[in-house]
Structure formats: C-alpha cells, structure tokens
C-alpha cells in the first residue's frame, strides 16, 4: 500500500479546524474522539502522531469508514454520556464541530473532563460579523460559518458564540488553557476581537484546580 504520506502533507490534507486540533495534541498520548465521523482526524493522530486513539460515532457509515481506516471506534450516542469509560483513561478527549448539536453541553463537557485530563473542543462561531450582519439586515437566523444546515434542518443546532462559550466555561468551573481561531479556512495569526472576526474557535479545556 502506498499510503506513506509525509507529516506535513497529511496535515495539509486535514480540514482546517482539525489541523488546529491536531496541533494541540502532543505525540504518543491517549485520545478519545467524540463524534469522530469518518475518522479523518483520528487517523491522522494515530498514523502521524503515534497517538493511541479511540473514537465514538453515531452513524453506521461513519463507523464503517473508521474501521476501513483501521481505527478502533464504537458506535454510540454522546447524549448518553461516557459512563463506561473510567476516570482519566485518556489524556485528551476531542469534540469537533459537534457541540451545537448536543442537548446538554454541561454534561458532555463534564464527561470529557472526567474521562480525559484535557478536552479539545471546536465549534462554529455565530458571533462572526457576517452572522451578526445577516441577522441585522435580513432579520433571519444566520447559518453558522462552515455549517450548511438551516435552523429547521436535522440535526438541529443551537447557536452560540465564543463569548457565550467563555462565560459558560467560567460558570461551570472549566478553564480555557489554550485557544486558536479560524477566519474562514485560515488560522488567525493575531487573535484580536475573536468573537467578531473568527468563524471557528478551538479551545483546550481543563478543570479549574480546586
């Protein structure tokens, strides 16, 4: 098989937000990817970063695609929590572009930080200036950047902004230890006015030390 791809090449092939997540994850750690889809990120982490990776995915097609990539993935529903996983059995838990679809963000983030030492979360930012302008001018709810569904389509999403998320973390005892932002498909070099200028936020979370 000719699937020997250089690290930089494989990195460049990743979806932009997944590149930022991959950058936050050190080599050789244990990673649980929640809602891992077709396994794009997990495969990169396993092959290129020597990570011990596991995934959870709801769709049959997603699980099949992951198994095709040689990954270890369980079919399961995140809304049911991660009860089977022992405390701190992973170094990192990952949730990419899935948070707006989950009913109970506090539960899932709590579970992520119970099962993992750290959690990496990425989500589309409805605070992006184009979204604000869209609502102001058209009077209609904007679709999130990089999220093709309208408000009425399945799966249903709940809009929130980077500022909302930061407040929520403070209130629930979660510390944001690292962060990165995308503007369109590009990482923001100088993150200023991020809630206005970024389309996607990526955050590394940890429990506030008690």
């Amino acid at each position: 098989m000719n699937d020997i791809v250089s690290l930089s090449e494989a990195w460049a092939n990743l979806r932009p937000d997944l590149r930022l997540i991959a950058d936050f994850i050190p080599t050789g750690v244990r990673v649980l990817d929640l809602g891992c889809g077709d396994g794009e990120l997990l495969e990169f982490l396993v092959r290129q970063k020597g990570v011990k990776g596991r995934g959870i995915e709801l769709s049959e097609a997603g699980v099949l695609a992951c198994v095709r990539r040689g990954l270890s993935v369980r079919q399961g529903n995140l809304q049911e929590g991660l009860a089977d996983y022992p405390d701190h059995s992973f170094d990192f838990t990952v949730l990419s572009q899935t948070l707006p679809f989950l009913d109970d963000p506090e539960m899932i983030l709590g579970e992520m930080l119970r099962v993992g030492h750290k959690a990496v979360v990425s989500f589309p930012n409805w605070g992006y200036w184009r979204c604000r302008l869209y609502l102001l001018i058209t009077g209609r709810i904007p679709q999130a950047p990089d999220l093709p569904q309208s408000w009425h389509q399945k799966p249903r999403w709940q809009a929130f902004t980077i500022t909302d998320f930061a407040r929520f973390c403070r209130q629930t005892g979660i510390a944001i230890v690292q962060q990165a932002y995308l503007d369109g498909g590009r990482p923001m070099r100088v993150p200023k006015f991020t809630n206005l200028l970024s389309t996607t936020g990526v955050f590394v979370l940890a429990r506030t030390s008690t």
């Binding site: 198994v67 990954l71 089977d84 022992p86």
Partner: protein
Amino acid sequence: MENERSSADGIGVVETQYYTFAEQAPFVLESGATLSPVTIAYETYGALNEQHSNAVLVCHALSGSAHAAGLDAQGQPGWWDDCIGPGKAFDTDRFFVICCNVLGSCYGSTGPSSINPATGQPYGLRFPVVTIGDMVRSQLAVIEHLGIPKLLTVVGGSMGGMQALEWAARYPERICSAIPLATTARSSPMLIAFSEVGRQAIYADPNWQYGDYYSNGKRPDAGLAVARMIGHITYLSEESMHKKFGRRLQGRERFGYEFETEFQVESYLRYKGHAFTRRFDANSYLYITKALDYFDLTRDPLRPEGAPISLVQAFSRARHVKFLVVSFTSDWLYPSYHSREIVSALTAAGADVTYLDIQSSWGHDAFLLEVETMTRLLSSFMDRIAQEEGVALPPLRPVEEAPREAARPGIARENEAWAS
C-alpha cells in the same frame, strides 16, 4: 483489479480431520463429569505461517459443523463460505483458518450419538451435559495439537459468539483479538424458554425413547422438526417474514378450509424442519441447547455457588485483547442491547473495542446474510489486527466492493445449514 482471483476458484474440496485426546487422563467437564476419550472434528483452510501467528479460529452456532468453507465430498459449500477463502474477509492466502465441530454435536465430534466405550452402545442420555466452557477447552486441545500458542483471532456468531467471549474471558492470553457477532454474555430467560420448548417437542415424540433411539430405527424426527421450526422463527424477524412469505399461499389460489399446508410460511417451516431431521441428531439438539442455556459469563466457574461477578470483572484479564463486536438492529433473539452490555463491560475493563449495530431486517440470521457489510468490517479489522500484531503477510488484494448475488436469502441462498 487484474490480480484479483475470482471467488469461484475458492478453497476447493476439503476433508474433515479428527483429533482424539483424553484417552488416558479423562477430560473433566465443568459439571464434574468426565469423558474419555474425546474426539473433535475440525477443518483447516490456508497455511500456518512459520511463526504460527496467523491462526484464526472460527466457531459455529447451534447446528453448524466443522465444514465452514470450501466444498465437502458431496460438493456442499461450508456454512461460512461467504467469508472464508482466497480474497474473502478471512483471506486464506493470509490466514490459517480452523473450525472445530463443538463437543456434544453430531458432525464427528464426541456427542450423545458417539459410541460409549464403556458399553459399546451410543451414549444417548448417558452422555454428560457439556457447557460452552467445555467446548472451548476442547478447542484449546485442538489448537495445542496444531502447535498454535496464540490465536490471531477467534470469531463466531450466536453460540459461536459465546465461544469467542468464553475464550476472551477464560483464555485471554491465548488470543490477540475476538469477534463476537450477534451474541450475548449471558443467555436470557427468553432464549432459555425457546430452548426448552424445542426440547419439550423432542421429549414429547414417542420415538425419542429417552434418548435410546439409535438401535431400533425409530427416530424422533417429528419432535426434532418442531424444535427446528421454532428455532427458525426466532432467527427471522417479523419484517423479514413479511418480505420472504407475506400471506402468500403455497401452490393454491384460495383457502381450502382444511388442515393442509396452505401458507408459504408454513411450507417453509415444514420443509426446514424436515430437512433438519436428515442432518441432525435430536439428542445433540438437547445437549447443545442446554449448553446455550447455561452460558453466563457473570458466573465464576471456580466458585459457581458464589455471588455473580460483574461482566467487567469477567473480562478483567482481557484488556489487551482487541474486540470487534457486531449486532443487528432486527435481531430479537440476541437483541443489540446485549451486545452493548458486552461493549460497555469491555470498555470499562480497558479493552480496545470496536462496535457496530448493523441496520438490517434479517433478524438473527443477519450475521450470515449481510455479507457485504460483514466482509468490509471483518476484512478491515483483520487487516488492522494482522498489522498491529506484526504478522508477516502477503500484500492485501483489493477487496471486492460489489455485493454478491448470493448475499440475499430467498434468491440464491437457501443453504441455511448454519443458522444459529
């Protein structure tokens, strides 16, 4: 895909082999009873590599035999020929595949129809009751006889899945991975209930004669056929019965208002029940269903009277084993939540587990009928395991993507000799 061989050239004709052991020291069963000697019928496909590291043990279900793949002397294909062979999920160009007939069966392994050396007559009900654990220990003897220190994988569906789980719980050091399909870690009361109804049908047949029917030519065929008919109902789903038979009548236009076989579903069940009596032994049916009923991984075999252990404890030594667990959405005999229970316990035990609940309308039989999805899953998983375990293997052939015609029942696939 020019280097891909057509699956038609398959394995070819295979011969069942026999291994006899426990001739001096008897084989002690879980019940405490003993058996001597023990013969296990088995078949092998492919070649064992130099390191003896490419062995795959395939475990059959209730009525299966060691003939899992290739053709027998009569030209009959094995019960899992769809998945075993050159270029198939268990690629015999890469793996050495073994299938053993279970202890208590009637296809060459020691069972109630074998000759009891103490009397020179068939055992009948004097044959000791065996368990899934006993079956697995007899397989272990065969594996050791073949010089295999550790299996690359052990795979099976239904009762075969129970054996795979038993291997993982009791002999985790002997396996790298396990693939339990459409199975459970503990027989449910409903499963026991269906077993018992099947057994009652056999007991009620006067020809059964308390199991001593081998000499006088009267066999409890009617009872065994009813048992099999009940079994077949549990292997289907309401939806698959609608698809397969509907309310269609067999060979007639209108109701006859009489007690003849009228509906297609009746005709199917009668045919299957009758066909089964030609190939299976009623006493073996009793013994194997009993083994199914006893299966419970939360019962500690060392302290059977003690408090049950949790499934997590049962798998506590299997954390290094890689699992592929598969269930099917319409399987009501071994419902998906039984598999999810296994997956939860394995996750909590720290094992590496891949799980999929495959969307299917074929009921319990789906594990043999969803060939396309199963081939994709199994071959990818086997590829990964072989790679991770460092098994030196020839390069993988491109996997066939197109669904095979024979993958749908009612079209070409009426060979249901394997079912549960």
